[in-house]
């Protein structure tokens, strides 16, 4: 008999305040044996993993959303409370609670631990980041802490290999007693008196264990004085962001040229080794010219995310959030909107889902409505293509002109989101500002392993999209652009007589006032599935228009000669507001539980995109 199957499993739940190292510990305990799903009926992410103990038992580990208290203010925090109380369907009450406390910031984590302990469930306390705490001079009498709390206390360093061994040794062989005095049925959320009592208990425990807080880091304080200064901090933030966009263009050029050359060589090789026919056309004009044109932008995406991950891992991003809090409050956004809006620069979907941490529904809705205005990474290939084709590769003073234009496009997205939020605020009426409360993490050198894993994740996502949905759509578009075949007496390119050609001619009537030709009009349609598909679609459409010439991955020179500057600028303006992809609309529908908001969102973004493109086209056409 299989021991692993027959042995009883133990349900563990990791609970702790945000940024205490709970997820790192979860990864340490479960490795790659994880799955992500949702809690029933809500859209809060449920992260569960497994660990097989030495005796064959399966330990099921649940990583609960971070919370400061069992009195919830957001949906995520309510889920944490309900899982601990055993109130959530399909989520059995934990047999053992692992309360993760950051040893550097002991009081805030210990306060939550005292609340959790009152539930009466078996519990161990993982005292995480003990290495940093010791370096910072924090003194904790661990044995006394264990005696005061009445639970085992185990030091851990979750980010280091072997850093959770003591915890594992404690939880694996143990037969934890059954639930004692679990008060789920009669639970009431802590009130003011409870909070005062917890605070008093906390003071008592801290005094008993001889706790000394971490020594002030004078160097970090001086850096913070600059980074958090309203003027100095804003200047630093602007310079940092500006340099990132400079690097995106300056550093990415050699690898992008290499990928372009490879794609052109591949297209030439396929053409040379296959007899002319539909299969050859599909591979060269559909797959290589379409998906290859998108793949070219991988280096830019890697460079952009490298910098974002460095800023995140070094502890700078929460400081940027603090700095922008006042500005966001002024335009009608909650301070808690910063992280969702920042996430939206990768993709609007996780950004929209991250709005669950915003307690006020109106604040949350405003953030959801403006999230697609942040420039997601899918727009980078479109910007990259048009900028490379129309903006000369030259320096303006110390700056790269192409990087300067890219920076201004990102800035345009952010500024427009603030304007839209301000307008929405007028419709929604004045409301109480919900301030951002966060702990500023210590500065640290970015962890190389974390950076590589984060970059690998982005590369995997991008390449999977290119090899998956983008490739599939390019094949479908190739079919629409190749069939039906032109009549024998046709004079123009074959694509003009195809399904795509007819569609393009129809759409051009709508888009002609903003300077879009029929090829751009066709590309906008599959671009609704994912924005970067528009680049691949342009590659395919132009390759098909070129009557057999090998244009794979050579889109740039073709549009540089075929489009006017006004058309190029109009397309950039269109994509600043570009109506979001269908997946984003679906997520908005799910998060708001209504079709009303995705329809409003699509409507206002289409209108803004059309208006911005129209004005840009007319102004540039007049001046150029």
């Amino acid at each position: 008999m299989d021991v692993a199957v027959s042995a009883p499993s133990l349900q563990l739940a990791l609970v702790g305040v945000p940024n205490c190292g709970k997820t790192a510990l979860f990864n340490r305990l479960t490795g790659s044996r994880q799955k992500v799903a949702n809690y029933p009926g809500v859209t809060v992410e449920r992260r569960e993993g497994e660990r097989v103990a030495a005796d064959g038992r399966t330990l099921r580990v649940l990583d609960l959303p971070g919370t400061y208290s069992l009195k919830p203010t957001t949906l995520d925090e309510a889920i944490t409370r309900d899982v601990l109380l055993g109130r959530v369907a399909n989520a059995p009450a934990p047999g053992l609670v692992i309360c993760v406390v950051d040893a550097v910031h002991l009081p805030i984590g210990l306060r939550l631990a005292l609340e959790v302990k009152r539930l009466g469930r078996p519990m161990v306390l993982a005292l995480n980041r003990m290495d940093v705490a010791r370096r910072r001079g924090v003194k904790i009498d661990i044995a006394r802490l264990s005696a005061e709390l009445g639970v085992p206390v185990l030091p851990t360093i979750a980010v280091k290999r072997g850093g959770a061994d003591a915890l594992i040794e404690a939880i694996e062989p143990a037969r934890w007693p059954g639930e004692r005095n679990v008060i789920a049925g009669e639970w009431r959320d802590p009130g003011t008196e409870d909070a005062e009592q917890t605070q008093a208990d906390l003071r008592g425990v801290l005094a008993a264990i001889g706790y000394t807080p971490p020594a002030d880091n004078h160097w970090a304080s001086r850096v913070d004085a600059l980074l958090l200064h309203p003027l100095g901090g804003t200047v630093v933030l602007s310079v940092v962001m500006f340099l990132i966009f400079q690097a995106v263009f300056s550093w990415a050029t050699p690898p992008m040229d290499g990928i372009k050359a490879s794609m052109a060589a591949l297209g030439g090789w396929v053409s040379g080794h296959m007899s002319a026919g539909p299969l050859s056309s599909l591979l060269v004009d559909g797959v290589i010219a379409g998906a290859g044109a998108v793949l070219v932008f991988l280096p830019q995406i890697i460079i952009l995310f490298f910098f974002i991950l460095v800023l995140e891992d070094s502890g700078y991003l929460p400081r940027a959030a603090y700095l922008l809090d006042r500005l966001m409050g002024w335009v009608g956004l909650s301070g808690r909107a910063f992280i969702p809006l920042l996430s939206s620069h990768a993709c609007a979907i996780p950004g929209i889902m991250a709005t669950r941490t915003i307690p006020s529904w109106r604040d949350r809705l405003t953030t959801i409505m403006v999230a697609p205005l942040m420039t997601c990474s899918a727009r980078l290939p479109v910007y990259g293509l048009v900028i490379a084709a129309f903006i000369p590769r030259k320096d303006v003073g110390p700056f790269n002109l192409q990087g300067l234009v890219l920076f201004s496009l990102y800035a345009a997205g952010i500024i427009s989101s603030f304007i839209v939020a301000f307008v929405l605020k007028q419709f929604a009426g004045q409301r109480r500002y919900s301030p951002l409360m966060l702990e500023l993490p210590d500065f640290q050198w970015p962890n190389a392993a974390n950076l590589l894993l984060g970059l690998w994740e982005r590369v995997r996502i991008f390449v999977t999209r290119v090899g998956g949905i983008i490739l599939a759509l390019m094949i479908v578009l190739w079919f629409l652009a190749a069939y039906p075949a032109p009549p024998p007496d046709a004079t123009g390119p074959a694509i003009q007589y195809s399904f795509a050609g007819h569609l393009g001619a129809l759409l051009q009537k709508i888009f002609a006032p903003i300077g879009f030709n029929w090829q751009i009009s066709i590309a906008l349609v599959p671009g609704l599935a994912a924005r970067e598909v528009a680049v691949g679609a342009l590659g395919t459409v132009y390759a098909m228009s070129a009557s057999g010439d090998n244009l794979s991955a050579q889109l740039e020179p073709v549009i540089a000669t075929g489009w006017s500057l006004a058309t190029a600028c109009s397309l950039l303006a269109w994509y600043v507001f570009a109506p979001q992809c269908l997946s984003t609309l679906a997520v908005v529908k799910r998060e708001t539980n209504s079709w009303r908001y995705p329809i409003i969102m699509a409507g206002y973004l289409f209108a803004l995109a059309y208006l911005a493109a129209f004005v840009t086209y007319r102004v540039v056409a007049t001046w150029s």
């Binding site: 799903a37 859209t43 993993g49 299969l279 479908v476 992809c581």
Partner: protein, 80 residues
Amino acid sequence: MLQYLLVALIVAAAMAFSAWKLMPARWRMRSLLAVDAWAAKHPALLSWRERSLKPRITRAAGSGCDGCASHDSPVHRSPR
């Protein structure tokens, strides 16, 4: 002729894949559950169901959408 046949197969597969990826998550979930219920009645499909179908259902039930890869795998990067 063979080229036309191959192209027809590739295009049909691409259309089906695109439709699957772009269909609403709820429809996709319902389809997967229907296939799962059917597979449950056939013991021969047990291992396929466990190995291939269950992970897809889990992913479809997760956050985000199947068209966006952001949430179909665990994020290993750890906060401090």
